[in-house]
Symmetry: D2
Subunit: 434 residues, 4 copies
């Protein structure tokens, strides 16, 4: 039998706390899971620094990727299978895209990408199409198969049904991570009736729609998403850790570019400092590697690098106050000057950070981020956009919410030195703070 | 107020998936959690290599330690508080012992300890009493307080009630890990009615007993424990990973002792190879550090070290067959000779491993491991040993179960070279195998 | 010791699926639970006819009442205890009010009250203050204690903190029933983090407020409530059963008033038909009694009573279509005439029913139903109304939603007789229908 | 299409708290659920009097029957479908048998059957094969179909695979009720990994076996069963209610046979008193009907009937002591005489009750109750009896456990009259008591 259709002699089953079991029957899927680029995701946490707030959130992108695969598998095998609107020949490409959609994520992606100006989506594409185990498995299916999987993940694939299973406002990716992150953090948000949603998903023309009888389950899902963003993903303490992490990487890069002699040289990072990196360099990184450097750098001579690493490794995080970018920017300038005077480098110790979310939106032409709306399939065959039917969703649709914080090392501002200046700083902070 | 009784201005609360919330009001506890030796436990997995079988089991000893603390806190504050048999002045020492009981665990303890002949209990004692942040916090309570905490953990503390809350056949340690490991692996074993058990625990003379009305909850707990041992902790595939890990460490030590020139020198390990290590050397290790070495060693010239590291990092594990040490030992000798002939070093590639458990036992004088039995408190005030009342427990009491496996690299035995010898090997293995 | 403070020798514990355990230590509470008026609530379903849609929803008002009690007990004992803003002497009156707040509910209250023009709140007051076991227990606390409990339930009690624990937009009553009804129906809505909400409730001046750190848990609670109302409480099929039930009672009353000779006389109902009932008559009723009559009446000669009883007992419910009272009222008149012509009495077989909910509202002076808003306690001590801070709640605040349905016996419209008229009816229905 | 294979236009789905959803596609199943004999099971509690101990246990046999159906449906459609050892033509008969297996249960079966010497299994057969709606539906499948369904339920059906899905030591009936009763009572026992068990069930020769890889899930199931029996089903307080119920029915029968003039005549019972009942008489009974009589009989003149009814309706239960039938029978005689002297009729007020269970057993020829053992299917195709492989099951296999209790009205023994005799009684009771 050809490789694309090859089945395992016996179904393999993974015990999963969120979906109970993850079922694998396709040889291709099994081989991909065993590829080293896929196994590498075990060494990258799904939620980056969130475990420093929610100690249970130590789960990896490996678990999440299996989960997204399983959701898509259930949609295809239990719901779409046999429906004339669904093209059965797309099955394998969706399953592979679901499994591999996060493959390019690196250690603490969010901060890493910002500092080194890289994009995990580029790496995903490169792993799929470059010289990797994953690529050699996909190529065995068909020479253009790696490209097809990359197109699905990159949202340029022709069949939009396929794309929207993986990325849309109600896709398998979100459905897995909301539930999984809720499970591991232990928060009670993040639960919604996924089984109900799956049962009412339908392929319909060039999209995946939801039968209107499932509208309330979708409302619940959107509320879960909203809550998870603000309660977990944007938690200000996890952002404090991200801020420090970013500053560590920035400092190491700066030192390296300014002739500083490291006792523990940043070997794994050099190619990123000068942008000469290859895929191999990227794949050699994971969170254990970064943490190993950070621990060693605690004893570096550079006081800023050393202090920031100590803060990150031993969880001595920055404090924060609310901050209104409209009216407080002038104050930020004053604060920076006062920090300078107090001998605390504001570049590394006074950081403004913002985060923002749009809980749900329908298509608004011309906007920067044109989102595909969630469409409901009415009993009479019509299609209606969700917020037109749901009072709840209408109430939050299109309303962007943004949070601004200013991070700083509170304990440095209350020690004995330069008391007066620090007093001024504290007063300025207090004005804007909670 | 003295430090021992100092309370936080506002209670701190950790979201925990197993106990919902973990509550901290004591300044001492809060300070210990923030100590770097305690934060280090975030970098050590609770279940070592089990995540290679149960992908959800990525939780750390940090989470577990908080859990044990919370269980003990609830016993003391909700159940024991105010009972004349309980000495309220022991509260802080038990809470600290609960929180810190696993502090000396290193990366992949089980294998690490075997190869380097060290014991995590020694390290726990040393962290408590040596030059550490934890020690300086404990000393602030009283000069002999670190020693007292160490005695509770070491089971030599005078008040046996205190000891048995942390280590006995039904202690807070086990109650947390059974539930926590079940939660993270996703298995359905491991659940029992802890709330019920806590409510019927009573301090009684020199022990902690269980009111007989809670007997069935205790039976359930013992069955959970039995199932978790055989379904999760002793899973043969996780043991395969442990076997490989042991052999990596053993090989690195051998190479280092025989003049091999590492491209990536085993800096962090040197003090363990020649047993010159200090506590600082030990605390510098964690699982991220070990994994960093293993990834780098994949490109070492030594084929055995390189291969074993590749196996561990990329999950290419050994296969196994059942093995009867009574009758199969001769066969093991034959197999070793055949491996040698086939050019596969049996020292690293043919490993017998056994594991064993005694689900419950009462006191049997003179036995190597004298266990404290679980005692039930009858309505009339009598004390009865559990297995005398419980038919279920009696059925398994004192029955040791042992499992023997033989691990080997199956795929090396089916490649093209030395076909005949490998054929012989495979036949010998098949005879004993599943 | 005086009765009000008398404690049980040993705490009594009820196993409860929602709150795990319900704890009783007060002798008064224990005695009330054992009173016959309280035990009677075991014979009245919490959700009336909903079990005909959600087969699991067979739980009684007894369970719910224990649940409300337990929530209040936890608020008082774990959260409010010791706070200066809370008057500890109110403890027993709140606990009693929580336990007894639903005491006056009769069988299928909703329909029963409509047909016989009675109000369960009047009966609650009468049970508390009349000649009952409950009253004699309450009087033992203090002569005016029954009246006080009645005032709390009736919302006229002076201490508004006390009132709002039992009835407000976030009270123990709602928190129990949302969770309990979700548990028994099996729907995934209805879950919210009650433990979190309880922990942030604070007595404050003349109300109970929520610390702003708990805002997201409150949002989640309001969304749960919204979903439960529309998914469960207002389910159109359960309303179909209510409609039939109402018509049974109405028909029996009509027949009784028009000299019809029952084979099974409506003994238990007579005092309600002529409004001569006493409390004793009311307490003699429960859902088993009503169902016993309905089963017997299936064989009555009156075809309408017989048919309606058969429908209710054997779940042969009416079908329904959507209905717009604005534009469809004329059509309703036409339909009634056509029903008459077709020989189907529209009084009993063509019923319009509406249901309506306001998910959350703040105080709007002059409106019919002036609701107390949910107030958040800010870190700086200010009080803010929920919808001013919560985008989600603001989106639905004050938006009343109403649903209109028209119920009718679909199968009678497709049988052989008077085909043409029935054809006309079906066409009219289809126009307005789903 | 023929009726046996007729499918609903759209699948019907019931929300179920235990199995999440119950799926119905077969027209036959849908019609059976709507039959009045099936709807009647809504009025009969699954656990009889247990709700008087576990207030949540108010669920009906209706829910349980749907659950058993759903488990069998999943086994057939997801696991057995397509396996050569399974005869696909048996599908409908098993589904019907699963759905209808409890159809003959009456109100409080256990006591009712004892007093009136009837057997619910006879009634099940009669409902299936007599003049009922259920029968007319089954006959539409095939004239001999009702008989076939009856044979499956009666265990005489030729295909033993079919029988053992419904009744064996690991069948769908038990798997549903253990989980369902655990869910509604709220106890933590009763949970096991049913999904795992279903996945490893296999049709094999004339039985259903379990793949040995699922052994631990089966162990867990057997332990759950054991715990549920002793913690829930045999709870001594629920048995106290059963004892009283039995005595009510016995007293009513006695009075009726001895010319007593009832104010509220036992109309519904007369045919059972003189054994002239028909199926129609039986189907007219349910728990609401019985409770209606018991409430009315509280005001009967006969003091025993009146008192017993008051006890049952208002939960004034008998107390109990342990009782050893071997050595305490003489004492029982003495007690009876003393009761007589004290003016308390021992026939109604001094009742010994025993209950007994065999947690698991393999086939032991010649024993009264020859049970079919659970067989495991080994990887090599061999069959092994469970207790030969499972240490845990071996520990309890074949060990019958029996509990004896003596019930009596404690409060009558401490009132003022005949003090001395009552003192003697209390002393005798105390000797044997807990």
């Amino acid at each position: 039998m050809d490789y694309a259709n090859q089945k395992l002699a016996e179904e393999k089953v993974f015990k999963d706390p969120v979906h109970r079991y993850i079922h694998v029957r396709d040889q291709v899927i099994w081989d991909l899971i065993n590829a080293r680029e896929f196994q590498r995701m075990r060494r990258i946490k799904q939620l980056g620094t969130s475990y420093l707030v929610f100690h249970g959130a130590e789960h990896s992108r490996f678990s999440h990727s299996l989960g997204v695969y399983e959701i898509v598998r259930r949609i295809l095998d239990d719901i779409f299978h046999g429906r004339p609107e669904w093209d059965e020949s797309e099955r394998l490409v969706v399953l592979c895209a679901a499994l591999l959609h996060d493959l390019g994520h690196g250690p603490f992606s969010h901060s890493f990408e910002k500092v080194f100006n890289v994009d995990h989506e580029d790496f995903t594409r490169e792993i799929l199409q470059g010289d990797t185990e994953v690529n050699s498995i996909l190529k065995k299916v068909a020479p253009d198969f790696p490209k097809k999987v990359a197109e699905v993940i990159g949202k340029t694939y022709a069949n939009k049904q396929v794309v929207s299973l993986i990325s849309s406002q109600i896709d398998a990716d979100r459905m897995d991570y909301l539930q999984r992150d809720a499970y591991y953090t232990g928060v009670s948000y993040g639960h919604f009736d996924m089984e109900r949603i799956l049962r009412v998903m339908r392929p319909f023309e060039d999209q995946v729609v939801i039968k209107s009888s499932g509208m309330h389950a979708v409302e619940d899902y959107i509320m879960s998403r909203y809550q998870m963003y603000w309660q977990v993903y944007f938690h200000p303490v996890a952002r404090s850790a991200e801020v420090i992490l970013r500053k560590i990487l920035q400092r190491a890069k700066y030192l390296s570019g300014h002739g500083y002699k490291f006792e523990q040289p940043p070997t794994h990072f050099l190619a990123f400092f000068d942008r000469s990196f290859t895929l191999k360099d990227y794949l050699a990184l994971d969170e254990g590697v970064l943490m190993t450097y950070f621990q060693l750098w605690i004893t570096e001579r550079d006081p800023i690098l050393s202090d920031l690493c100590d803060r990150f490794v031993n969880r001595r995080l920055f404090q924060y106050v609310d901050f209104d970018p409209g009216k407080d920017y002038k104050k930020l300038g004053e604060l920076a000057q006062l920090f300078q005077k107090a001998g605390i480098d504001p570049e590394y110790y006074l950081i403004d950070d913002s985060t923002s979310d749009l809980p749900y939106d329908f298509y608004r032409p011309g906007e920067e981020e044109e989102r595909l709306p969630i469409h409901l399939l009415m009993p009479n065959g019509d299609i209606k956009e969700l917020s037109r039917l749901s009072q709840i969703v209408d109430g939050i649709s299109g309303k962007r919410r943004t949070d601004y914080k200013l991070y700083f090392p509170a304990e440095l501002l209350i020690d004995g030195k330069k008391k007066e200046i620090k007093q001024q700083i504290l007063e300025l902070l207090r004005e804007g703070g909670v």
